[in-house]
Each structure stands twice: as C-alpha cells, then as structure tokens.
C-alpha cells in the first residue's frame, strides 16, 4: 500500500464538492436537462395482475389535441436486440419487456406509452387508452395458497448441524418475516432521450451508466460508442437505478420513431411497478449452544419472494454463516415465484432481511442462556471465516461492540424485560445487533490529468448517488499528487468517461478509488521521471505543488509541466481486483457486471458494525419511538469521515424506518401492491428520528484493495431492525418476529 498521508487528501472531512450546487438548486438531475422541442410521455398501466390484453382501442387517446403517438404492443411491433435480465448477465431490470407482447405478468405493467406536445395532453390521452383484459388468477403474495418453494442454491454445510442441534442443551428455533419494500428515492424515475445521426443521447438517473450504455446498444442494435448516457446527479437510488428499467427502452424507441426528443417522468405510483422492489422474505433460524454460551449449531433457512418472469434470490446466508464461530453450520435458500414485477437490489438486498431474523434469534438465545447479548456475540467471535477457514482481511467486530456498549451506556441495562421504566411510565428498552456487509470489488478505469497550474481533473464513469463519491475520489487523487482538494475537479456520471463500475454493492470507493489511485500514481511517476531522470524515485515526494528531490531541493510542478507538450500530464489506468482474471476484468470494463470477493483466494473481506437502539414505548397506547441509536463500525480506511458518517447514519435511519414503518402492502385479492404513494407507503420523517450517534474505528486493512477501504454505503442498515426488535422485547417482554413492528403487535 502506498498512501501519502502528508497532504491531507485522505482521511480529511472535506466538505462535499457538490454541496453548493445542490443547496443553490443548480445541480441538474435527469428531468432538468432541456432538449429542444421535447415531447412529453405518459404511461398507462395494467389494472390486472395476470392474463392477456383482449381488446385495445387507442382512438380516443389519439384524438386528443397534441398527441403524437400511442405506443402499444400492437404499434411497437419491432424486434429488439436480445438483451436480458441483469441477474442473468444482461442489463435489464426484467427479462420481460412490456409492449413486446399482449401478455400481462403483473399489475402495474406498462401497457402503453402516450406521447404528446405537452405533459397535460399526454396524461389526458393516457387515461383514454381503452383496454380490456382476459384475466387469469394471480398470486402477488408468497403467502398465497398453492405456491411451492424451489431451492435457490445448494446451500452451505459445515459439520453436521442437524445432529448438533438435536443434541444441544440450549436452543432457539424461530421464524421471522420481512415484507416487500420499495426504495422510493425522492427523485422519480425519469428518462429523456434524443437521437441525432443514429446516435442516442439519454438522460436518466443511473447507478450504472456503462451498463446502461452496453444494454441500450444491444437493444437498439447500434455500436456501443453511439450511445451516450448522462447522469451527473442522481436524486437517491438505493439500488433502484442500476439496471435498465423498461420505460427507458420505450422512451428511446418513441424518440427514434418520432424523430424528436421524448421525456418521461414516471409518476410515484407507477414507480412501484415500473421499477423493482425488495422482495418479502421468511427466515427460519435455529441456533444451539452449550450452557456456557458456545454456539454448537447455526442453521438459517430463508425463503424469498421471487417473480414468475425472473428468478431472483437474495438470501443473506453468505453473511450470516460467517458471523459466529460454530463447528456446525447449515444454510439453505429457497424462493417462491409470484406474479409481480421482478424484484431487484435494494440497500443491503440480501443482508437486511436476513439479519433481522438472524440477529433477533441471537437475542433470543441470549435470553434463553441468561447471558448478556453483547457478551454472547463476543464469546462466539470467530478467528477465521468459519465456512472457508480463510483469515479475515480485517475484522474488528469485538472492538465495535466494546466501544458501542460504552458510547451507548449498555452497562446501565437491567436485563429483565419491562424492568426499565421512565418516571412517566414510559417503557424503556435497550437492544443490540451485529451489522456486516461484504467488501466486494469491481474492475474500474480512471483518468487523471494534472495541469501546470496545479489543478487536477479526475475522470471516471462512476456515480455520486448521494454517497459523496465526487468528493472522495477527488481526495484520493489529491492525496497522491499533493495538491489541495480545492484544485481537484471530478467528472463522473457520463458514459464518455473511462469505464466505472455499477454504483451498487458498496463498491464505488474501493473500486473506482483504486483506479483513481493507480492513475494518479502513474501521473506522479511521469512527473518524477520528467524532472529527474535517473534519480531514485522512491526518495522523491510531492508536496504543496512541488516535487521534493532526494537531495531536498524543490522543483515547482508548474515549471515541470509547463515545459511539456500540451502543458499537462494525463494518465489512464485500468484497475483489476485481486483474484480476478483478465477476461472477467475486460467484461467488467465493457459494461458487464463483474465482481470479485468478498471471499478471495487468501482472505475474506467484510465491513462490520455493532448497533444499539433505545426504544421508548407508551405503556397504554404501545406507540414505539426510537429515542437513540448508536452505531460503531469498522470499514477499513475512511477516506472522508464526513461523508462516510452520513452514509452510515442514513443507513441506520433506513433500518429504523424498516423496523417500524415500511411495508409494501399486497392486495392479495387483486394481486397488486396497494399502498403505491408516499402518503400510504410510510418511511421515516424527521420527527420519527431521535438521536443518532455514529463512530468509525481506525481500521487498517492492507489486503482488501490498494487504498484499504471496505464497504460503507449499506452496512448501516443491516443490524438496525433486529437491534430495535430486541429493544422492543426488552421494553415489553413481547418478541415480535416480523417487520414493521406496529403498536398492535404489542397489545
């Protein structure tokens, strides 16, 4: 590892580079880009969950003044390139593209796209598209009768967990249920497409401009270079904006046919089915231990909601199997196919539901054993990954628990449920849970340019979805090149830049950051070679816009670079994660999904955290408030404590929101999501949140990647729902094994 800590780039809480653009309202999101002569689009959605379109009449819609086109399965009538579902190696949100047949696979499926000169005309006409359906019975809930469970993988087996469980002295066997949820970023899905000379320019909020480019090129049968995807600012994503949503293809198609730019902003309600969602899940967790608290068997069987049109399995047992030392481990995942839009990635897709059950079960075991829940976890800390036997690249979970317990005041906890009561009768509960998230990596390119005036530009087709990547990637370059952060510019969110990875799986800083680090080091090498050929470069340093030579003399960067042709030094780098072969790397750089880790050839990399919650419950009404949350995390090197803290804090608030508020309710009779707007899909508002304390441990990981960073973006949510459920049990003695935990669950 080679980190220059002298210039303040890495580890400094630099203020977000994009902060002023955002507070002034000048940051341009997808729907803000003006295209001349834009036509507006509006959607019509299926009212039934399964069947076929039996009658379609667009005459009334087409008669509305200003309507230019009504795109339906009849009028689309064009073969598209064979592009597929993101989890089958493609880039699409679903393997089924609406308007390519008369089939209805889920309620809220797009059945027409109406284009008009004004938004108002398009919306009026979209309501006039007349459709009758030949309706078939549908199941949108995995709890419907007659559905079968299909095994989703071959499972994980260490030792003989069934036998150990049967023979154990103390055991827990319980099932935990989590509902479907929707991401609901505040920025609506949108797409604005314009064609010029056979080239497509598309503005959309994207976590994956390179993947979107590759996918659209394939769909439209044009060279990848002829697709330009632009997404400089994204108004929240959380996994929702990674793969290509169906409306994006349809908007681009309409724009090509009309020979005119077309813009669609997907209304909130439609977003529930045009986009993806977190599927419902059911975890059966069995834990066995000696009376002293040593785990002897860990078993986790999870059944997740999938879709008939796409098989999706998100079970988080790769992570739960690695949490604690046990000689016997057995993990199984299964799915139930339902008539819904394809589920997708939502913040900690596998881990968040799985850890609600798993970490609730650990609390139940602690109660059964009469052992403090923090101590139970610490006494079962594994020295190595209990599944692969490999060492951790770094793991400071015990330290997280010790520090978190001290910050929270855990020692004040009386373990007896219902024993802690405020003066006004309010019941107080303390709970804790473990959080973890895999530190995977993806290949990435980057280009770094250093100019004679000392300014530096970083180019990478990565994305800042609110995480702070604009700021953090610049800090990495500033650190290597010894330039002040204010002289660094970062250009991202456009497919013309050097290839960047999908901004999913908490990989951006480690992957794109490693590529920026590599490119910046190449710039530095050239600078050194230019100024002093033949001298020992290992004894040269960069500081304050000067090269410091081995003899201590200084040469200004402006003099060195000013004398070069072009007046700049610019270097490109292609970074490859350890343990990834070249072919996979090239596929990744070409816009494919290519991940390495978290289990590598020599080590296993996860971020860890200990999370604590204090709940306050009204003794009569049973209303639940999260008064305090404390999270202590070990996520490797923190490039920017300010932005990392806000990611972790946002994740914790997501966790509280998930524990107490969020559920996409399913109308089982009609086979559809019922609460498809922000008035009835509840998530945390400001007044729902109490005090939030976040701390990051100083953790050095020299093997995970070139800059020593691990996953930050998603780990914050993972343990919070269980910590809150455990606190609710402590306050009331009522064990609630489902989320959201509602007042009626405590009556």
């Amino acid at each position: 590892m080679d980190i220059n800590m002298g210039n303040g780039g890495i580890g400094v809480p630099v203020v977000r580079r994009d902060a002023m653009a955002k507070v002034l309202g000048v940051a341009q999101y997808a729907a803000d880009f003006p295209h001349e002569n834009t036509a507006y689009a509006a959607l019509t959605l299926s009212k039934v969950a399964r069947g076929r379109i039996s009658r379609l009449d667009t005459a009334a819609a087409e008669a509305v003044a200003g309507v230019r086109m009504v795109l339906t399965h009849r009028s689309l009538n064009e073969s598209l390139g064979d592009e597929t579902f993101v989890m089958k190696g493609g880039h699409m949100q679903s393997s089924f593209l609406p308007l390519t047949s008369d089939e209805i696979h889920y309620a809220g499926q797009i059945v027409s796209l109406t284009i008009a000169d004004t938004l108002e005309a398009a919306e009026e006409a979209a309501r006039l598209v007349a459709i009758d359906y030949a309706r078939e019975a549908a199941s949108a809930s995995m709890d419907d009768a007659g559905l079968t469970e299909e095994p989703a993988d071959s499972g994980i087996d260490v030792g003989d967990a069934e036998a150990a469980f049967a023979a154990a002295e103390v055991k827990v066997d319980a099932t935990y249920v989590t509902p479907a949820q929707h991401h609901n970023p505040i920025e609506l899905y949108a797409a604005s497409a314009a064609w010029q000379d056979g080239k497509l320019l598309i503005n959309l909020p994207s976590q994956w401009v390179m993947g979107t480019r590759a996918g659209l090129a394939k769909v439209f049968g044009i060279p990848i270079e002829d697709v330009h995807v632009e997404s400089p600012y994204v108004g929240g994503a959380f996994g929702a904006k990674a793969s290509i949503l169906p409306h994006v293809v349809l908007v681009a198609m309409a724009a090509r046919r009309l020979g005119r730019p077309v813009k669609l902003v997907v209304p909130r309600e439609a977003g529930f089915t045009v986009g993806s969602f977190r599927p419902a899940a059911r975890s059966r967790v069995r834990l066995a231990a000696t009376r002293q608290g040593k785990l002897t068997a860990v078993m986790h069987d999870e059944v997740g909601q999938s879709a008939v049109i796409d098989h999706v399995a998100f079970a988080g047992m790769e992570a739960t199997s690695k949490m604690y030392a046990s000689p016997n481990i057995r993990m199984r995942a299964a799915t139930v196919a339902t008539d819904v839009n394809s589920p997708g990635f939502m913040r900690a897709p596998a881990e968040a539901p799985s850890f609600f059950g798993f970490e609730s079960a650990m609390d139940e075991l602690a109660v059964a054993l009469g052992i403090d829940p923090v101590e139970l976890r610490i006494m079962n800390e594994p020295a190595r990954d209990p599944v692969s036997g490999l060492p951790w690249s770094s793991r400071l979970l015990v330290e997280c628990y010790r520090r978190g317990a001290a910050l929270f005041g855990w020692s004040d906890r009386n373990p007896k449920p219902g024993s802690m009561v405020a003066a006004d009768g309010t019941l107080i509960g303390y709970g804790c849970a473990t959080a973890t998230y895999p530190s995977a990596m993806a290949p990435s390119s980057a280009r770094v340019r250093l100019s004679a005036d000392g300014s530096c530009v970083v180019y990478c087709a990565a994305h800042d979805v609110g995480t702070g990547a604009y700021t953090v990637l610049g800090q990495v370059a500033a650190d290597v090149l010894g330039v002040p952060d204010e002289l660094v510019t970062v250009e991202m969110g456009h497919s013309r830049h050097p290839s960047g990875p999908v901004s999913g799986g908490s990989i951006t800083t480690g992957s794109a950051g490693s590529a920026v680090h590599m490119a910046a080091r190449a710039v530095r090498e050239r600078l050194f070679a230019t100024v002093a050929a033949g001298q020992d470069r290992s004894k040269m340093t960069l500081a304050d816009r000067h090269v410091v030579l081995p003899d201590g003399s200084r040469r200004a960067i402006s003099d060195i670079i000013g004398g070069l042709p072009g007046g700049v030094i610019e270097e490109h780098a292609d970074w490859k994660p350890t343990d990834m072969d070249d072919k996979t790397m090239q596929q990744g750089l070409a816009g494919g999904m290519a991940f390495a880790g978290p289990v590598g050839g020599t080590h296993v990399s996860f971020s860890f955290g200990a999370q604590f919650a204090e709940v306050r419950i009204d003794p009569l009404l049973r209303t639940i408030r999260v008064a305090r949350m404390v999270g202590v995390f070990a996520c490797g090197r923190i490039i920017n404590p300010r932005t990392a803290r806000s990611n972790l804090m946002g994740g914790m608030i997501w966790g509280a929101s998930s524990a107490l508020l969020e559920e996409s309710q399913i109308d089982r009779a009609r086979g559809r999501f019922a609460n498809t707007d922000l008035a009835s899909y509840h998530f945390a508002a400001n007044a729902d949140v109490g005090e939030v304390v976040v701390e990051m441990l100083d953790e050095h990981d020299s093997v995970v990647n070139a800059i020593g960073t691990k996953a930050v973006g998603e780990v914050g949510i993972v343990g919070m729902p269980a910590a809150i459920a455990n606190a609710v049990y402590h306050a009331t003695g009522v064990r609630v094994r489902k989320t959201p935990i509602l007042m009626e669950d405590l009556l």
Binding site: I186, R268, L678
Partner: protein, 157 residues
C-alpha cells in the same frame, strides 16, 4: 388557454398557459427554474416547496392559474437575493445533504421556520416543522444541525 400575470423571483411574468398546468411544472418547464423538484406529485414529500405571496406551498398542489396576480419565490430567487446564503452554507458545512434532491425544498421550509420561529426554538421544534419534507438518504440529524446553527447565528448577529 389562460393568460396569467405574476411576479417570479422579482421578475414580472406574463404567460398563456393551460388551466390544468401545475405551478411546479410551470416553473420547471416553462420558466426553466428546475431547482424546484418533484418527488410525489401529491403534496407529501415537500421537494417542490416554493413561496406563494410569502407563504410556503407545495408547487404540485397549486395550479399555475392560482398564482395569477401573486408573487412566487423559488430556491433560485432566494439564492440570488442572498436571503438564505447563511442557511445554504450551514447545509454544506454540516453535510445536511447527500443526493441533494430534497435540498431546495428543505431550504425553503427551513427558511420559513427561521422567519417565524422564536429565538429559543428547540431541536424538537425544528424537527416538527421540517417533518413535511422527506429526505430519503437520510440526513435528518444533520439537517436539524444546520438549521439550529443558522438559528443561533442569526440570533446573535
């Protein structure tokens, strides 16, 4: 089509518009004031918050024709006049934004709070006032920090 005359960010505007046009769409699509964002289109999320004759409203729940003969102020207007410069700097300094999409509406609502709040307003009062503006990222704690910082600074200045 209907003709309206109004003042937007201090500038007199006359426009001929369809009566069913929302104020937020009028500001964004007709005047190019895209700092006003749309998040739910039915008055819940607060991203489209603007000032209409001095009071904050949801731009998605007001028709443009209802703003006839009125004064409308948006994030662009408040930025240009410098009215919220201290608040905007506090948002940046306290990292009270991530994706930034809710931020203009949040600033509009926070300024409304600051104009009307007692000097000793509590954090709970700030939270309550801002609870009609969703931040999904979610920076609620830092947003309260930024508003509290501005409240204290304005009180002592």
């Amino acid at each position: 089509m209907t003709s309206i005359t109004l003042t937007v960010n201090g500038e007199p505007i006359t426009a001929t518009i369809p009566p069913r046009l929302h104020l937020a769409d009028f500001l964004r699509d007709h005047l190019g004031l895209t700092g006003t964002h749309l998040g739910c289109e039915h008055g819940v999320c607060g991203a489209c918050t603007v000032r209409l004759d001095g009071a904050i409203v949801r731009g998605c729940l007001v028709l443009a024709v209802q703003a006839d003969c009125c004064t409308v102020e948006t994030i662009e207007g408040l930025s240009d006049s410098g009215e919220v410069a201290d608040l905007q700097h506090a948002f940046a300094a306290r990292n009270a934004l991530q994706c930034g999409y809710c931020t203009p509406g949040m600033v509009m609502t926070a300024q409304d709070f600051l104009l009307h709040a007692p000097a000793d307003a509590s954090r709970a009062a700030i939270r309550e006032h801002l609870s009609g503006n969703y931040c999904r990222c979610t920076g609620y704690e830092a947003i309260v920090d930024a508003v509290e910082t501005t409240l204290n600074a304005r009180r002592t200045s």
